[in-house]
Symmetry: C2
Subunit: 325 residues, 2 copies
Amino acid sequence: MANIKEIARLAGVSVSTVSRVLNDHPYVSAEKRARVLETVEQLKYARNMNAVHLITGKTRSIAIMLPYINHAYFSRLTEGIGGEALANHYRLVLYQTAYKTSMEREVLEMLRNREVDGIIILSMSTPVAVIEEYCRYGPILCCQDAGERAFSSIYIDHARAFRAGMDCLINKGHRHFGFTVGRMDSPSTKSRLEAYKKVLKELNEPFREEWIMDGCLDIEDGASIMQRFQNMPERPTAMMVTGDQVAAGLLWEAGKRGVSVPGQLAIIGFDNQPVSKLLGLTTIDNRLFEMGAEAFRILYRQIREPDSGPVRKELAFRLIERSSV
Amino acid sequence: MANIKEIARLAGVSVSTVSRVLNDHPYVSAEKRARVLETVEQLKYARNMNAVHLITGKTRSIAIMLPYINHAYFSRLTEGIGGEALANHYRLVLYQTAYKTSMEREVLEMLRNREVDGIIILSMSTPVAVIEEYCRYGPILCCQDAGERAFSSIYIDHARAFRAGMDCLINKGHRHFGFTVGRMDSPSTKSRLEAYKKVLKELNEPFREEWIMDGCLDIEDGASIMQRFQNMPERPTAMMVTGDQVAAGLLWEAGKRGVSVPGQLAIIGFDNQPVSKLLGLTTIDNRLFEMGAEAFRILYRQIREPDSGPVRKELAFRLIERSSV
DNA sequence: TTGTAAGCGTTATCAG
DNA sequence: CTGATAACGCTTACAA
């Protein structure tokens, strides 16, 4: 397959001139430029990007570390990243980790191996200290609050968001609420738990472990909540549900079992997914699309200006009140 | 940053020996191997994969051409591809095209530019003839039936699947059905339309254009179907709905408006997504996950054996009858 | 079993 | 404006 050398030979110029034309550099005579372009066309020449990547030390691609590809939360975030990335001619390398640290390590290694120019972490179970070790190899951004770190982060204040939801419920007269979480040991769960306990204390309500429901990721997990309720001597009158899919499952199953929403059970979801609008689900919009887009912008700046320090950015959430509270 | 040459110097061996150790080649003495490994460890050496890609002519990554990242159908398919790809140390480069041919062209160009070893097309609007032109640069696989082509394909028989759904409805006594489509000019829509018209002829029913509803992609589009019904002098008693998300929207909105399912309206969805199980939606499982996994396997074989011809593979669909018919 | 040296296809440098 | 020529960091004949 034709390479730059052959183009040079056929066009009667040097390889440097060909390279200049290919990269739109100035200081090439119109005549030579035309000749090169014509030869490129004739030979149907295509650049070997791997050579470009090697010499420039850049790949124009970033890795996305995420546990599950097929999950509304991560899809929406990825969509936001993707739009901005494509607009800047950057490629997305998706890496599904299932929260396995060995898999997550492989993503980090891609940065070290120069396969990508940067990493955006949507969620992880690797300790932050490990992530920080890799910052020397290139910019890393985490879509969760990780405190002051060597890597950037963009996030919403989960504690405040959770608090906003609870306040909304309290205003409606609720005192007994439970909540669902995806993983018990995620940072956002920890923030929420803290906010939760604080509110209980203020209300002088006891902490009931069984009202915190772990492992709720998809619509079916939401439906199973109603099942769990059955074995409880006392049930919450309101649920904060992380993820509108899960909330939708709960809402549907409640309806099926004749439990009126919000009469007997109030529900607040998270993410403002399309399903929440349809079902009239009150939800906390954590701006996933904007977060993804902004995540790329921050990372991109760091790729271009490697000496600029890490960035922390908080996005404002929004409580969208509909008919489920 | 350390390179192979420096490792060689410090370990007191040649670069080829280092390379052999790095690639687990035989014919390296245990002693030298140990020395190399130790030096690698000491210097925290990391391979520059771009150099490897350049010299080997392979990148161990494939591109995924898809219109929308954040869509249950494509997410599920991508998940299937991703599992198999990762198991074989292949990376997924996601490219969201929004069905713009210029974007789709960029994906194809990635193959020509050696940025990826192959392409899996989930859906496209580019003519097949254009795709075929790019087959010379590497293997391409399309997750839709495109007939006998220079590229591979894996698919279910949409006409037969559609027919199976209609037969199920006919058995329940329906004669008036409509259906939804994502895009009017997709190949699967064409197959379905054909099957549809054939059935109408058999039943001696007239073709009603307004019963075919275009642009139905997400849950909200499903809900809007009920709206469209209102202006119709005559309504279908059953709907075939491409995509369980859309079907879920329709089902929900029907319930809200007091239209009983399946009494007044029978619904069959597609894809067997989790939501369909929860809602008791009859659906046609088109095996998206398996399709994705198998798609990668086929492509991978073609990458390893470039002379093996294109493969066509049909997957068996399954009608899963639940309570919406 | 090991080392030398020739690439892979670009871009960057520097002299003209 | 243009062209030699030196990198970039690795794999792989080929020779020893």
